[in-house]
Every structure is written in C-alpha cells, then in structure tokens.
C-alpha cells in the first residue's frame, strides 16, 4: 500500500465528511439512517427526484452529483446499481473523495462477463487515482467512536480497542454486534468485499500502525494473495494479538504430482501451520472469536499452564478440571503453605480445597473468605492463573432478592483483578434462570472481568491466548498434540 492510498484509507476511516450515494426509500434509507449517529457532516447524492422528499425528511442535504458537495468528502458510500458504479467512481475521484465503500454488488463474484468487465473498469480507475476503494460487494466501514456505521443496530458514541476486518459483510455486522453485546467495543471495522484494490494485507498493515487498535480480528475465507497475506499476518501478529476466524475451505489447488507431500498438503492443515508460524490465534466460530477477544481485552496475559480453579460444588469441581485438562492446561496441587492457610478457615464439610477449591460452603456467607481464597491462589507459586465459577444455579434467586449482592461480588473480583498479576476469568454458565444470567453477565463484563459461558469455552480460549503469549515470549506452545 503506497503512502497516498494509506493516507486516503486513513481519512476514510476517520472522516469529517461522509457522502451517501444512491440510498433509496425501497431499502428504508438504510445508509442515511445508519449515518445519523455520525459526528461530522453527512450529504446525500441521489439523482432520482422521487427520492428527494424522503431524504429531506431525514434532514440530509441532497445533491445530484458528489461534485456539488460544498466540502471535501472523506468517505463515500456507493449504493448505486452496478452499471452506474464506474461513473460514480469517476465523479468521486474528480471531486477528491478519499475513500469509497462500494456496497454495489454484481461484479466478479457473479462469475459473469459483464460483472467481471465492470469490476476491471472500477479497479483501473481506482488504482490510477489512488482512491481507497473498499469492496466492492461489501458493507464498508464502521467507526463507532465517530458514529460511522453500516447498520442502525451498531452502537455509536464510544470506541474500543479491537479492529475487525471481515471478508463477509454479515460477519462484519454480526461480530460487531456480538462483541458489543459482550461489552467489547471496536476501534474500527472493515467489510472488505471483493477486496480488489485494498486487500486483507493492506488493512492488516493499517491496523498494525493504528494507535486506536490493540487487537485485530479477521474473518477470512480465502486470501487473494496468500504470500502477501502470510507476510502481513506475521508483521501484524508480531506486534499485536491477531485472531483469525477462517471460514470455508480454501480451493484445493492444483496437485501436480502424486508425491506424499502433495497428497497431504490439504489447505486447512497448511492454513493452521501458517497461523502458528505468524503467532496468530486461530478460531473456528464467532463464539470462539468472542471468547478469545474477551480474554485478550480483559485478562492479563500469561504464559503459564497451571490454574487455580474455584468451583461452587464437588460436581462442578470435577468437570471444570476435566475441561481445563482437556484443553492442555494443568490443574496442579497447591503449595503446602496454601494448604496450611486454607485449613484454617475452609469449610471442608461437603467441600475440598486440593484444587479446585470446592468453595460453595466457604464463601456462601462470607465475602471475606472469598477474598482469602483469591489471595491464597494469587500468592501460590504453583498457580499461573485463576478461574472462578459464578453460579446462577445457586445464586440467581439471591441476585433477584438482593441485587446488591452481585454488585458486591463484582466489585470484589474487580479489586482482585486489579491487584493481581495473574490472568483471572469468570465462568457464568447459561442457567435455568436465563433472565438473571443475561442481566448478570454484562455487569461482570462491565467491570472488565472476562465472563465466559462454559468451562470448555473458557478453557479453549485460555489455551489459545496462553499459546500466543508463550510464542511471543520465545517459548514452545503447550503440548501441541492436544487438539
């Protein structure tokens, strides 16, 4: 990406002036409505006089051409039919628009001659002018801080530290919404579409240098240029955590010979190797992506595998251990010193403190005891990280009766997390009392505590961020043979 293109992409992602070209009543003026949260100036470009009234109702000034807009446009959304797209692009270039998000589809993705020809035309124009063409066939850009959106459901007003780059518009939308639902705000999101001018490596390079971005999440189906993608991924993941959700199978490609290597060089295995080489975190679903993002954003990074586990009951102590061992993490015995301290107050009737701490009876009526448990695990030299079950099964009734009880717990956990150097995460399972869980989860997350929905998901996510931290520290990942 040359300097001119980078500068234009930067302007498009941080715009002061936005133009929406070709929005219409039939689509519910989705673009203009999405941009109602934008902190800068929004203009409409629509030549159809029948649309003028509807656009005026939204309080947006309309022009017949982008050339007539009275100030420089940083970002234009292009929602016109495909045969008009090249002409709109010419207008945008002529009036100095920095970036254009081309929602218009029907290009090379159709596989038909006209679509391919139109795309070629658009690419030539854009490349020559150095305009930051996003797409085509995409949802464009999202900047929550500035209120630049591609859906009215996306939050606006505040931004976060996670950038999202997605080859799918749907996943760009869904991940941005699901992340927000889990209290994770994005710095920016890009739906890259056909990625004909700006491709995944360009966005990776941009977010690598973006001071608002600490973590990069990618949804990719097939990079257009594998080597460029691999190189950009290595560069980016060396500086910031990069999480890659790979969808679909890459084309098997040509297999020229029948040698062992060729017959085994299946793309999913190769892709996994590539991610390991770059030290990017691999995930297989939106759920896994969100779990990992929660840990990256909320937990202190750690390279150790040994966990102190805190469960409410004996049955949960058994399965939480299984979950973390299965994920290749360890549940060690504690130090003698910890056992001595625990023996002084732990309620061993129906409970045990070997690790996991089967703590229900010990903390039920004493937040002070919970503090002591956290303190002991924090000080224990056999323990690298702490995982605690928050159980709606046993506590939901109390949260309803006494909402302050949950607040007190959250405050206590937050205080622990702030003073402890060890990764800490909570597991808050779905429950029979789902309404209470739905209320409780954001309260835990709002305190900056990772709250995952199951032992297994927590374990897998922790394994992944631990491996990343280990590789970054020059260590081998945990036993790689574990699936």
């Amino acid at each position: 990406m040359d300097q001119r293109l980078r500068r234009n992409l930067d302007r498009a992602l941080n715009p002061a002036v936005v133009a929406v070209i070709g929005d219409k009543r039939q689509s519910g003026y989705m673009w203009l409505r999405s941009m109602q949260t934008f902190s800068g100036h929004v203009y409409s470009v629509q030549v159809n006089p029948d649309e003028a009234a509807g656009i005026a109702e939204l309080g947006v000034r309309n022009f017949a051409s982008v050339r007539e807009i009275p100030e420089p446009v940083d970002y234009a959304v292009c929602a016109v039919p495909r045969h008009v797209a090249p002409r709109v692009l010419v207008d945008c270039i002529a009036s100095g628009v920095a970036g254009i998000g081309m929602f218009t589809s029907g290009f090379a993705e159709t596989g038909e001659e006209l679509g391919i020809r139109l795309q070629d035309e658009v690419v030539l124009l854009a490349r020559d002018a150095g305009i930051a063409l996003i797409g085509p066939n995409c949802m464009g850009l999202y900047n929550p801080r500035l209120g630049v959106r591609f859906s009215q459901d996306q939050p606006a007003g505040a931004g976060g530290r996670v950038a999202l780059v997605s080859q799918s518009g749907t996943h760009a939308l869904n991940v941005s919404l699901m992340a927000a639902a889990n209290g994770i705000l994005l710095s920016k999101a890009v739906s890259v579409g056909n990625a004909v001018v700006l491709d995944l490596p360009d966005y990776l390079d941009y977010f690598l240098d973006d001071p608002e971005t600490d973590v990069i999440a990618i949804y990719v189906e097939g990079p257009r240029d594998g080597r460029r993608f691999a190189e950009a991924l290595r560069r980016a993941a060396a500086r910031k955590p990069v999480v890659v959700w790979k969808g679909g199978l890459t084309p098997a490609g040509q297999r020229a010979t029948m040698s062992h290597t060729a017959s085994l060089a299946a793309s999913p295995e190769l892709f996994r190797g590539l991610l390991r080489q770059a030290n990017a975190i691999s995930v297989n679903s939106v759920d896994e992506l969100l779990d990992v993002l929660q840990l990256l954003v909320r937990c202190k990074p750690g390279t150790g595998a040994r966990l102190g586990l805190m469960a409410m009951t004996g049955g949960q102590s058994v399965v939480i251990t299984d979950a973390f061992e299965r994920a290749g993490l360890e549940v060690p015995t504690l130090t003698d010193r910890s056992y001595t301290e625990l023996s002084e107050f732990f309620n061993i009737v129906g409970g045990s403190y070997r690790n996991p701490l089967d703590m229900g009876g010990t903390i039920r009526d004493s937040s002070e005891n919970l503090d002591r448990l956290l303190h002991i695990l924090d000080a224990d030299t056999h323990v690298d990280g702490i995982v605690m079950e928050i159980s709606a099964l046993f506590q939901a009734r109390r949260w309803v009766r006494e909402p302050a009880a949950l607040d007190a717990l959250v405050t206590q956990l937050k205080a622990h997390q702030q003073q402890s150097a060890k990764p800490f995460l909570a597991v808050l399972h779905p429950s029979f009392a789902e309404a209470e869980v739905v209320t409780a989860r954001p309260r835990v997350q709002a305190a900056g505590i990772a709250a995952l929905p199951s032992f297994d998901r927590a374990a897998l996510a922790l394994r992944r961020v631990t491996d990343r931290a280990r590789r970054a520290a020059g260590m081998l990942p945990l036993d790689s043979a574990t699936p």
Partner: protein, 233 residues
Amino acid sequence: MTLAIAIARARSEGRHLLTEVEAKDALAAADLPVVTTRLASTADEAAAIARDVGYPVVCKITSPDIVHKSDVGGVRVALADEAAVRRAFDEILAAAQAAVPDARIHGVAVQRMAPAGVELIVGVTTDPQFGPVIMFGTGGVLVELFRDVAFRVVPLAPRDAREMVHEIRGVKLLQGFRGQPACDVAAVERLLCQVSDFVEANPQVRELDLNPVFAYPEGVTAVDARIVLSEED
C-alpha cells in the same frame, strides 16, 4: 554436482524430475545431510564405490525413464561384500533393460545402507496460494494413514522448525520412546531450516522429498531424495 548442473542436464533431456543421484548431489553440495550416493558405470566402479562408502550397501538402477525402481527389479539392498555388489550390478542392469528396453541408463547408484533410525519425512510442495511449503512428519508406510505432519510456509525461522518438531505426535519417538535413546532433535530442526534455505535459494525446485530421513542419537541422514523442477526457469 551442484543443483545448477543437475538442472541443466535435466532440462537438456526434457526432464522435470531429477534422478536420485542428481538430487542427492545437489543437496550434498548445499551441505544437507544425505547418504553419499555415487553412480557406477561398471561393476568395477560399483565395487570401488562400495569399498569407499563401506558395507553393507544398496544398489539402485538410475534412469530418467524408470521412476519405480523396485517394480522393475532395479534395487538390491544389504549387499555385504564385493561379490554381492558385482552380481547385483549385472542383475540390476539386466532386469532394467528387460523391463524397459528403451530406457536411458545413467548407471547404478551405490550407497551405504544407512542404519535404521527414527523414520521421518520432509517434503516441499509449491502451494498455488502460499508458494513453497514445508511438510514434516513421522515417516514410514503409515504416514498417509496417521497424517502426523506439520506444515509451514517458506522461509522457516529456527523457531518454526522447533515448533514443527514438537507439533507432531512422533516427537515422542525422537525424545526416546520406550527406553530408546533420544535422537538429535537439534539436527532435525537444522535440517528443516536447511531445506527451507535450499528451496528459497532455488525457486526452480517445485517439489522436494526427503523420504525417509533417519534421525539418530547423533545427526540425521536423508536416505532417499527426490526433486521435481518447475516447468520453466
């Protein structure tokens, strides 16, 4: 023989596949650990090479027209003395000429029969998306069944090689499984980096197979080697 010479010769004969001797010579010239393998044109030469490299030896037909050497009776193993080598030389040539009468015969390759070690495989293919890619895994006849392999894209950093070795389940064989001595893991990692350097320096190499590679308590040795060139330089 360096790779450049081997390539020139293969191209002049319209081949993309180097012979085993050409491939091994090229790799040895780049300091990769391959079993010394030399070409004999006569039974006398075969006997002299065998004496040089040490018994027991293996003899194989070397012909650009014969890919599956065993199928035509072109391989004799565990030859313990000079008489056996001379006999094998004559028999191999006769069998090859009988099976493929028009075959261009370069000669008979003579190599020391490497003592068995932990069997590994190292391969390179050129992926249409990612370019040259290295595969490493446990070798042997069951390689395709267990798929105990790790992939990385060229170039490999030492860290990648180390991780590849530890990624396969067969790492336990290298670490000394069931009372066996531990193998020279550092030499395995070095070999992977050398293979990466070799294909990076030689973009004409489209495929490379070292199969098997034997790992020992000290060092590693590629027993067989195969190189396929790209269509054009």
